[in-house]
Amino acid sequence: MSAESTQRRAIRLAGFSLGSLVDWIVPLVNLAAGLAAVILASLLTGNNDLEQYVILLLGGMCVTLQLLFLDIYRKRKTWDIKVGLLALLALGFIAALYWIPKYLTGWQINGVIHQSLFGMIFLLAAGIPTMSVALYDLLGATPSAEDVSRYPLILTPVALALAVYLLLISQLVIQGRPGLSWEIISKPYLNYSVPVKIMIAGDWPKWSAALQEGVGIRNQILGTGLLMLMTSLISLPFGVGAGVFLSEYARGGFGNFTRFVITSLRSISMLILGFTALSLVKASSGTPLAFLFKGYQFDGFVWRENQGGTFFAASLVISLLVIPVICRATEEGCRSLPNELREGSLALGGSEETTLWRIVLPWSLANIVTGVLLGCAEAAGDMAILMFIAGRGDYGVGPFKQVTSLAYMVFDIWFGEKSFHDTMSPYQFSAGLILITMTVGLGLIALLLKRWLALRHRGR
């Protein structure tokens, strides 16, 4: 009779044969040991004290693996070399841990490595294969079991990465939530435009009171919004135009060149774009264009040229990033149009133009909106481009006032001058929290739109 049938005993679970209870125990213990190793390794990340358990656990694994080695022989009359080697590996790791000093240094490395780092690595390197061999044996050592035994290898990195993301985001929420209040959101940090007005009106007591305008991030929030708006307005026509061009009209060399350039726009370093913004602003200084790119402020006495750059200048440069996004979205939308609809319109006597405006663009509308939303998220989160030209929104928020945004504020609070840092640092995370809510929120809406699009297209 075939090997499988002799092996079969009582229990089948989802197609796997598990043998009798006795057969379960040893692999199950191994599975638990491997799992414990991975968990300990994760806990060790932040906590050096737990390292005393590392050797304990490695020793335990070594023992359980040897038991598994013998058990497999009992069950299947073969010596599983992998399990044996794994037991030796665990032993080797224990030896290594005795040999490595508690604090490792030398070779002029710029740090002192704690032994627990090696403990972590050894635990993972031993624990994951232990889980694999345990699963393989537990599920009957069939080829399908082999597939299941690969899950620990795949799931561990995924689970660990997700845990890291969740931890970081939760820290953002925990640290940022207390700082949030209507006060903060509704007041700007310093808003000179109010005192200026008051000064012009000649009301001196009110002027000094107004200058003390409290701590707040209102202008940054408004600035982020304005940045999104202006960037969308600027990139929309060009993005859609390019997208339509690439999908409907482009041929051969020029089309490829265009596509290359559009892709390159996405690939160039943010630094370069930051420099471009800076150049734009600097170059316009002193020329009539300065109004557009640098902006002027009336500080009560004289019209002064701004220090940095305007929202307009920033949006112009950010749109270099956003245009490719909208272009790709539009292209996808146009291409997804079923040919029958297109041909139908032309057959009815519609010109290319009518087809474009009446059929192609409305069909692609949802794609375009998705692109715009993603572009907004980019604009909101951008810091590198603003890096050299942004400010604190001291004079308020407007297309030709100095650009500011939540993203810049987070950077500014950390790296800015001490007084600013001290007053605003409690609100650093709050600003970040609002920012992430905006960008992720936009992303969510874009995601839902994409889902809806996919359904609509599949439904046809």
Binding site: S2, E4, S5, R12, G15, G140, T142, P143, S144, A145, D147
Partner: protein, 247 residues
């Protein structure tokens, strides 16, 4: 030496769509059995349930029993099952590797210790393509013509020495000369292998098969020796289909 398949009360489908409605069928060992019937009658579903490839589609369900030499395959490890039940697909699907690598794929996947050169030559000969490729075993299989690719796929399937070979319209995409070579190799497979072949081509079924099952709307309407089915069909539906009244 070769195996039999016994299908008992098999119902199968995808999500809400029931395709097979209680199939009972006994495939004779060492013979070629053809499954014929109009499109959508479930012949491909039946074929694919014999090596449990239907499970790859989401929402697929199966009830009943399919016994390979007495063992219900639905309770076996599907991977081990597929080493006993090979399949050749309608559209040739060689791997983007050399011809040799293609043929050896199943052997390497099952970690068998066999003389590799022997098995490559043997399989390619059985698939009636050895002469054409013996000098270029290391060439990429994609460089072959469609007919040659299909025969390499057959060789690949034979290399793991399956007991049953399932064929889903293997010659449908081929030109007449390749088609003839494929048919010749199928006929040569009798006795040593049990072959179940789905085909739209009734003349082909008549030529190469020993038994034929006519399916319609998820049921086996008639099953018997090919001679009898084609010359003296018992049911009207069979008669009509063979006469080409519906496709």
């Amino acid at each position: 030496m070769s195996s039999s398949i016994a299908v008992e009360q098999l119902t199968a489908g995808y999500n809400n769509n029931q395709v097979l409605k209680g199939i009972d069928l006994e495939i004779q060992p060492g013979k070629v059995t053809a499954l014929i019937g109009p499109s959508g009658c479930g012949k491909t579903t039946l074929l694919r349930s014999m090596n449990r490839l239907n499970e790859m589609t989401k929402g697929a369900y199966v009830q009943g029993q399919i016994c390979l030499d007495g063992e219900n395959i639905l309770e076996l490890d599907p991977i081990l099952l597929r080493r006993k039940v090979g399949m050749v697909f309608q559209k040739p699907n060689p791997f983007p590797m050399s011809i040799r690598e293609n043929v050896l794929y199943g052997i390497k996947a099952a970690k068998l210790k066999i003389d590799q050169t022997e098995i490559v030559k043997d399989s390619l000969m059985r698939a009636a393509i050895w002469e054409e490729v013996k000098d270029r075993l290391n060439d990429n299989a994609f460089g072959l013509s469609v007919g040659q690719q299909q025969r390499v796929c057959i060789a690949r399937c034979l290399a793991i020495s399956p007991k049953i070979i399932l064929m889903d319209e293997p010659a449908a995409a081929l030109d007449p000369s390749s088609s003839a070579k494929v048919e010749a190799s199928i006929v040569a497979m009798k006795d040593q292998y049990t072959v179940v072949i789905v085909t739209h081509n009734m003349q082909q079924a008549n030529r190469i098969s020993d038994y034929t099952a006519f399916m319609y709307l998820g049921e086996i309407v008639e099953y018997g020796e090919t001679e009898q089915i084609f010359n003296e069909p018992k049911r009207t539906e069979t008669k009509e289909y063979i006469a080409g009244r519906f496709g």
